[in-house]
């Protein structure tokens, strides 16, 4: 077992452990943190495959932005854990069914790839100046341009839809208008009143 294999097994063990803790741990905040750990160790495995762009993007997008928002929401919600566990027996058959289907699918997939002779051989290490990012960018913007653009438009529609669905315009909401705030002049705010000076009363 060489060093890379050793590191692969370490990262895989952490990934599997963290992923199972995501569903088994009681506290939702801990579950979110375990999900972060899963992403991190996945990124480690991808780095071993010399997919450094994907690995770093995984950390950047999922760990740096998506999970922060997840944690944000999970911490704000006061999730009571006990009622969540009440229907355990009731939902068990459905869960088992879904689990069994997924298991069969994975077995089929893995068995097929192991059986075939075209099991991908370990890729030879790329040259030091080979840029994974550049190769990906070139493919995305030439060969897969349309797919890429369609994905971008779907995402844009999703953003617009999410905002449109959750936006509530209440008539009594007060907004600040910075442009108006900046444009105020002395005359709008200040009124100088001319008056004769008053002498102070002295009690003699």
């Amino acid at each position: 077992m060489n060093f890379e294999t050793f590191i692969f097994y370490v990262f895989s063990a952490i990934t599997v452990f963290a992923a199972s803790r995501v569903v088994s741990v009681r506290n939702p905040v801990f579950a979110a943190m375990f999900l972060v750990l899963t992403f991190f160790s996945c990124a480690g495995i991808w780095l071993l495959l010399e997919a450094e762009f994907l690995a770093i993007t995984l950390v950047l997008v999922y760990v740096g932005a998506v999970m922060v928002l997840f944690l944000f929401v999970v911490m704000m919600l006061d999730v009571n854990v006990e009622p969540l566990r009440e229907g355990f027996v009731k939902y068990l058959p459905v869960g088992l069914l879904v689990g069994a289907i997924m298991f069969i699918e994975m077995v089929l997939l893995i068995a097929r790839s192991f059986k075939s002779d075209s099991f991908p051989a370990p890729t030879s290490a790329a040259a030091a100046d080979y840029s994974n990012t550049e190769a990906l960018g070139e493919l995305l913007y030439s060969k897969y341009l349309f797919q890429f653009e369609i994905a971008a438009i779907i995402l844009l529609v999703a953003i617009v839809a999410a905002i449109a669905l959750t936006m509530r315009r209440r008539p009594d909401t007060k907004y600040q208008k910075p442009a108006e705030q900046i444009n105020v002049t002395k005359a709008d705010r200040l009124r100088v009143v001319k008056m004769t000076s008053e002498t102070q009363q002295r009690n003699s």
């Binding site: 762009f53 740096g64 922060v68 704000m76 840029s131 990012t133 910075p178």
Partner: protein, 335 residues
């Protein structure tokens, strides 16, 4: 086997050679901050410990080290203690790809810029976890503010970096510096001025420094996310904040101020230029803190979403057109 061992030892020595000066810089940045702000407010600043107060950082450090770390009741003990580490580790890890001079870099990553962006975005976990684990309303409010703020400013920051990598044609930080060769007017500061301003201000916001320090906002939420921390746990948060400041300053000087390049062509490049530029950016941090009052929370959000993001998007379009037509000495297609 011996080769692997040697490689490990050399790498560890290199890491120590980056980390030790960094820690000393952090220690003296705290002193510089108090001195500079003191001068700006017509005070003297700390001058009692050692010659002209130069021993002050060590006095502070020993004070914090000897204090008790108090863990609040009903707090989540493990997360409470791990949060400071979570905020310090990314701040230090990001230094792996910073080129100090030509070839002086720990890891010459091809995707160095992305790596730095990923590391700075991971730093927010320390703040969020600290706020939640403390089991305190003030700490939690600070953490929530910080999370929203960092997510907002990260987008503007990322867009600003897209402009840099479009002009430089590379994600490698060393190549970005090399693309700015040839004196002050070849630096990216002038062609990318709007992006440089947006990047630096977003950097100030990401490090939770004044005037964007609503996460600690003393006037309303005491000290924000680290209100329940004491002793060494607090010191680690402090260390992370200052390490992040130096990080942002170093990145600004690499991406917009030409890194180790001298401002006048032929004056000799070297690490001293990099250090001078970084020190100048750090001075800006301190200057901001002494000058600007704290932003209100909704003003921060407005600035991030409604001002910075449109500015960066427009400038990226401008850069795209300029590169397409090869305008001026800056926008030539490289690599």
């Amino acid at each position: 086997m011996l080769d692997a061992l040697l490689l490990t030892v050399v790498t560890l020595l290199k890491i120590a050679a980056v980390m030790l000066p960094l820690i000393i810089c952090v220690a003296y940045l705290t002193l510089a901050e108090r001195k500079v702000i003191g001068r700006m407010q017509v005070r003297v600043g700390p001058n009692r410990v050692g010659w002209k107060g130069l021993g002050q950082p060590f006095a502070d450090m020993f004070k914090l080290m000897t204090k008790e770390v108090i863990i609040p009741t009903n707090s989540s003990r493990f997360l409470f203690l791990v949060a400071p580490v979570l905020s310090l580790a990314p701040a230090l890890a990001a230094w792996a790809v910073i080129p100090f001079a030509d070839g002086w870099v720990l890891a010459d990553l091809n995707a160095g810029l992305l790596y730095v962006l990923a590391m700075t975005s991971v730093g927010v976990y320390g703040v969020i976890i600290a706020g939640w684990a403390s089991n305190s309303k003030y700490a939690f409010l600070g953490a929530m503010r910080s999370a929203a703020q960092i997510v907002a400013y990260e987008i503007a920051m990322g867009f600003a970096l897209i402009g840099v990598l479009m002009v430089a044609g590379s994600l490698n930080l060393g190549d970005i510096v090399r693309a700015q060769e040839g004196g002050f007017f070849s630096w990216f500061l002038i062609p990318l001025l709007p992006l440089a301003v947006v990047y630096f201000i977003s950097g100030v916001a990401e490090t939770n420094r004044a005037p964007f320090d609503v996460a600690e906002g003393e006037s309303e939420i005491v000290a924000g996310f680290h209100v329940d921390y004491s002793g060494m746990a607090f010191a680690v948060f402090f260390l992370a904040e200052y390490a992040n400041m130096i990080m942002i300053a170093a990145l600004t000087s690499i991406m917009f101020l030409g890194g180790w390049m001298s401002p006048i062509d032929g004056w000799g490049d070297g690490i001293h230029w990099f250090l001078i530029k970084t020190a100048f950016c750090l001075f800006l941090f301190l200057w901001f803190r002494a000058t600007f009052p704290r932003y209100r929370y909704d003003q921060i959000m407005r600035l991030g979403w409604k001002v910075f993001i449109p500015v960066t998007i427009v400038w990226i379009a401008v850069i795209g057109v300029a590169i397409y037509y090869g305008i001026g000495p800056w926008f030539q297609v490289r690599g």
